[in-house]
């Protein structure tokens, strides 16, 4: 809309190839179990599977009935059961129980587990321990990447975030490495890799190992650069309310695997409708990256144009009418539909946000980002809690307060925590412990001293592990330094300046001009400097762990002229938000390059915090 795409924007590679690759491997695996079979699918695999295959394809390969994995007893008459699951101990235990109860009942069947994207030894150990190893055959479906859109690739692993950052389990490191390796194998190598974060480093190492094993490829690279970033480098951005259209839709309706369900309040009928949200939707494609306040104007202009187009019919003769119906009507009708859908969505979002006093909420968020009137922010948060409004929003504001302020004063921490428990349940004791461990919600310590445990361990440490141990602890006890970072990188524009959201001047537009997302700012800076030089102070405040390496096949300078050299792949480890994607699209347009986002999952504040809740069994 306001900003048109630069004409020389590079073409993106065709990622549909990845879907075909995954589908064909799945078919191959299904053929490994010849004959009729019932297929059990993990609930969270159904949508991703939908994007690459359908029932017809499954039926063509002798899948009889389809079931969702529910960890309950099953009823199936088939002699062959196939399970398509994520490698989770709980699911494998359930399958083992199933096999054992069949054994007790004297029933003979063949069982096959297809783990995706890979199997884990811990799962196989469960089969062994339960005495069903051998009765059950296992396979891997290396479905690493699902293209969600032209420029979004997802690993569809929301658990990556909790497993890696909270539990410290590195089970998905090689998965992420393999995903990069897959991209490289299909689309060519990269000339330069940058990254920041502990996990990013490990993923790079894992990927490098894979590269070294494979044969060196001499194909023309399709991407110039790769940037790997850990989610814990920047928690502030995903915790902010999203106000760009696509992000807002995700915050309110939750986009799942590129599709959203609009309820009756949007469709103005009595049924819900599922809609794919991607660049194929022409109306959506034009508003997805826009600040919400611009969307109304755009939609009403569209509506007027549409009316004019329809009006052309008046006074047409038969021939003209025929041509109109043949050439234009279908397109117009489609646009009409999309338009009324997005108008309905905007209206519904507006109503919801008005009701929750969104304006006040945003004011508080912006004050926190700016470090302005913190006392009043605390009062606002306190009342938010007291009134038992959204449990997640209260938690989100608390975390924002803590990160931006480098922890809460002891008095405030104790009081807010107690009030939170009173309003939302004392079970959240566990949630708060998780948040503290991640450094999302902390009490300021009087003097930064090591805990007893840490110093005790310190003495026992031998030389080999000392480095890693320090790393581990520093990431645990890490300070956000947000204020200093914000100042250093000019993340919060000076107040008092007018910000015209219709003509964004920087990435801050995605947060109403109040804040440039730290994650995207880092990417911008590193690409600009072709490395971390000059950012030493910044990386120190981010706990180091940055790297920049030049790929083996960097090739001649002439290549820099090609399109591929202007494509940058950014991998978010632990999830990224639609707002960040919008910011990168903006950056790409400014710089004449294109970003491809690879993420372990699409996230937002609610998903991020829900992954850390521990108040349910």
């Amino acid at each position: 809309m306001a900003h048109t795409e630069r004409r020389d924007a590079p073409e993106l590679p065709d990622f549909s190839l990845l879907k075909r690759l995954a589908r064909d491997q799945l078919i191959f695996l299904l053929e490994q179990l010849p004959g009729k079979k019932d297929l059990f699918i993990d609930a969270d695999l159904m949508s991703p599977l939908d994007r690459i295959a359908n029932v017809t394809i499954l039926k063509q390969h002798e899948v009889d009935k389809l079931y969702k994995v529910e960890l309950k007893p099953i009823v199936s008459n088939s002699d062959q059961l196939c399970f398509l699951i994520r490698p989770r101990i709980q699911t494998v235990k359930w399958i083992s129980d199933l096999v054992n109860s069949d054994k007790v009942a004297g029933r003979f069947r063949r069982y096959k587990i297809i783990f995706t994207p890979q199997k884990f030894y811990a799962c196989e150990t469960v089969l062994e321990e339960q005495g069903v190893f051998g009765d059950v055959t296992t396979d891997e479906w290396n479905f690493y990447i699902l293209p969600l859109d032209d420029d979004i690739l997802s690993l569809e692993l929301p658990e990556f975030f909790r497993d890696n950052f909270l539990e410290g389990d590195q089970r998905w490191v090689t998965t992420a490495g393999s995903a990069l390796h897959l991209l490289q194998s299909v689309y060519g190598s990269f000339s330069k890799v940058y990254g920041i974060g502990r996990c990013a480093k490990m993923v790079y190492e894992s990927w490098r190992e894979l590269m070294e094993e494979g044969e060196q490829r001499t194909r023309q690279p399709e991407f110039a650069k790769v940037f790997l970033i850990d989610r814990d480098v920047d928690y502030v951005t995903p915790l902010c309310s999203q106000v760009v259209y696509e992000g807002l839709v995700d915050d309110i309706f939750r986009i799942k695997c590129g599709s959203v369900e609009f309820g009756p309040d949007v469709t103005s009928s009595d049924k819900s409708i599922k809609v794919m949200l991607n660049s194929q939707d022409k109306v959506f494609n034009e508003i997805r990256n826009e600040h919400f306040s611009n969307v109304f104007g755009f939609l009403s202009q569209k509506a007027k144009n549409l009316q004019t187009a329809y009006d052309k019919r008046r006074g047409m003769d038969i021939q003209q009418m025929k041509a109109f119906v043949a050439d234009e009507l279908k397109g117009l009708k489609q646009e009409h539909r999309l338009l009324s859908l997005h108008i309905g969505a905007s209206e519904s979002m507006m109503k919801k946000k008005t009701k929750q006093d969104f304006q006040e909420l945003l004011k508080t968020e912006h004050s926190l980002l700016e470090g302005f009137e913190i006392r009043e922010c605390i009062t606002y948060i306190e009342e938010h809690i007291n009134r038992q409004v959204s449990m997640i929003d209260s938690l989100r504001l608390l975390c924002l307060l803590s990160i931006t302020e480098n922890g809460l004063l002891s008095k405030d921490y104790k009081s807010l925590k107690a009030q939170y428990f009173q309003s939302y349940g004392i079970d959240h004791l566990l949630t708060f412990a998780n948040l503290r461990q991640l450094g999302l919600l902390e009490e300021q310590q009087a003097g930064e001293t090591l805990t007893v445990m840490e110093s005790k361990v310190g003495k026992l440490v031998n030389d080999k592990t000392v480095g890693k141990l320090t790393d581990a602890f520093s990431s645990l006890a890490k300070k956000s330094n947000f204020r200093a970072l914000s100042k250093r990188l000019a993340l919060v524009p000076k107040s008092g300046e007018e910000y015209d959201l219709r003509v964004p001047r920087d990435m801050a537009y995605i947060f109403s001009g109040a804040y440039i997302p730290l994650s995207c700012k880092l990417i911008e800076q590193v690409l600009e400097r072709d490395g971390w030089t000059g950012l030493e102070e910044v990386t120190r405040m981010l706990n180091g762990q940055e790297f920049a390496v030049t790929g083996g096949s960097s090739g001649s300078e002439a290549r820099n002229k090609t399109d591929a050299q202007r494509i940058v792949l950014v991998m978010f480890l632990g999830g990224c938000t639609f707002s960040e994607i919008s910011a990168l699209r903006f950056l790409g347009k400014e710089r004449g390059c294109r970003f491809i986002v690879v993420t372990t999952a699409i996230t937002n504040s609610a998903r991020l915090l829900e992954a850390l809740l521990d108040n349910h069994a």
């Binding site: 690759l21 079931y67 030894y121 590195q170 004011k363 007291n386 428990f421 108040n615």
Partner: protein, 483 residues
């Protein structure tokens, strides 16, 4: 909730953040409404609209999609209908997705001639080998020597999914070398695999001791035990590591798995002796006390036949609800009970150290819901030392009005509290928002703002009492208007 001080509003209005507003009467919103009307009113003169829905690509999950067809689940099917495969017309999606492309042709190295670029030609042999037919490769190569491999080679084979043997790692030193090697390649899957081996082949004391110095491995082990549900071992481990608070929390977490409220209460009681931090210990004590009270209240209220329970039947049980919800419940059903009873608001307030502000908020909500304006009134009554009654509130009166309005209090009630707002500007804006005409008019009169009165008059219905009141004021020659 708006902030009390008017300066703030000044600040915000002038700041860069005046991005957009969500006010109903905002121009853009009405603009949007208008365009919606416009779009909806466009007439399309053919009636096969509905059919079109299925065809256009944005209509969501394609018919015949997997999540679409898996509506029935195994456990729900059990209840009778053994209908095999949900009947779906899959033709539309077939034409969309069916490719006539067969997998076997790929693996034979030849692709059927098709509309799209051949798949196997699009990348070289290496990648095909890496990504699909790995599965076909027999994984038994080199079985004879796997037991002689170094830790490095063993870990490498484990990473690749090739056969390996851990049997030869018998000395503690070898075991630890293996573990350290797994950690060095960052492969969580392999780290856990080695830990499972160590768990089986080392005594827990030794294993715990070694893990103490290996944080990465330790965290994998803790996570593995959590996932396996090995609670007892986990508690022992944390205890051995001296992580007593973590241990206490992990044990406390168990209560979530106990459904029966009596047993849950007893379990919570047993948690009281766990080594929580001082703060957390208080919270756990509260948790126990709360559930204990809730069980008592629930037992008696379930069979209660007081008027209030008939008039407003309980929608859910009070068990396991948060403290504030319990207080609200008590203010709703047990208001006015003496402090001696467990179910009384004052008892709950005292037991759980609820702040005055929080108490007023909750009680206000509950009494307003019941439209007990008298109770609402007395919530804010305080007597000063001379015995005069004065209205005082720990929360701003504008917020009180807000809550009352949300509970659909009549204007006569709202007005009383709007009048208690100290700040004139705030009072005026709240009065305008909730259409408390009297307050608006009186405020303008006190401000001697004739012009605003004239403007306001135009918004009112002709010959309404308010309209006439303004008329009278404007005709009053005694008032010295400022404009």
């Amino acid at each position: 909730m708006s902030r009390a001080k008017p300066e703030d509003d000044d600040y915000w209005n002038s700041s860069k953040f005046k991005a957009f507003t969500f006010d109903d009467d905002d121009d853009e919103f009405s603009q949007l409404k208008e365009s919606k009307r416009a779009v909806n009113s466009i007439l399309v003169d053919d009636d096969d609209d509905e059919d079109d829905v299925e065809r256009v690509s944005w209509s969501g999950e394609p018919v015949g999609s997997i999540s679409w067809s898996v509506k029935e689940t195994a456990s729900s099917i059990r209840s009778g209908s053994e209908q095999s495969f949900p009947k779906i017309d899959t033709t539309p999606s077939l034409s969309k997705q069916g490719s006539g492309y067969s997998l076997s042709s790929l693996f034979k190295g030849k692709s059927k001639p098709g509309a799209f670029q051949s798949f196997s030609e699009s990348f070289s042999d290496t990648s095909v080998r890496t990504y699909a037919p790995e599965l076909r490769k027999p994984k038994s190569d080199g079985k004879d020597f796997v037991s002689d491999l170094s830790p490095e080679e063993t870990v490498r084979r484990m990473q690749k999914g090739r056969p390996f043997s851990l049997e030869k790692f018998r000395s503690l030193q070898d075991k630890l070398l293996l573990l350290d090697e797994a950690v060095a390649v960052y492969d969580g899957n392999v780290i856990t695999a080695v830990l499972i081996f160590l768990k089986k082949s080392l005594s827990k004391e030794i294993l715990f001791r070694e893990l103490m110095a290996r944080d990465v491995a330790l965290r994998h082990y803790v996570h593995y035990l959590k996932e396996m549900g090995e609670q007892k071992l986990l508690v022992e481990l944390l205890k051995a590591l001296g992580r007593t608070e973590d241990m206490a929390l992990i044990q406390y977490k168990e209560h979530l798995n106990i459904k029966d409220e009596g047993r849950r209460r007893d379990f919570l009681k047993s948690c009281l002796s766990l080594p929580f931090s001082q703060d957390d210990a208080t919270h756990v004590q509260d948790h126990y006390t709360l559930l204990e009270r809730q069980i008592i209240i629930e037992a008696s209220d379930k069979k209660a036949d007081a008027e209030i329970f008939k008039k407003f039947p309980r929608k859910a049980s009070i068990l396991n609800m948060p403290i504030i919800t319990t207080l609200y419940y008590s203010c709703f059903y047990h208001y006015g009970e003496s402090e001696g009873t467990f179910s009384s608001p004052s008892n709950i307030r005292k037991t759980f150290r609820i702040s005055e502000k929080q108490y007023i908020l909750t009680a206000l909500g509950a009494r307003a819901k019941l439209k007990s304006w008298f109770d609402v009134d007395s919530l804010f009554n305080t007597k000063n030392w001379l015995g005069y009654t004065k209205k005082r509130s720990p929360i701003g009166f504008h917020k009180v009005v807000d809550i009352l309005h949300k509970n659909s209090a009549p204007v006569s009630v709202l007005q009383e509290y709007v009048n208690l707002i100290d700040d004139t500007e705030l009072k005026l804006s709240v009065a305008l928002k909730y259409k408390c005409h009297d307050v608006v008019i009186n405020t303008y009169r006190d401000l001697k703002d004739r012009q605003q009165l004239v403007v306001y008059r135009e918004k009112l219905e002709r010959d309404s009492p308010e309209y006439r009141k303004i008329q009278e004021l404007l005709n009053n020659v005694q008032i010295r208007w400022k404009n």
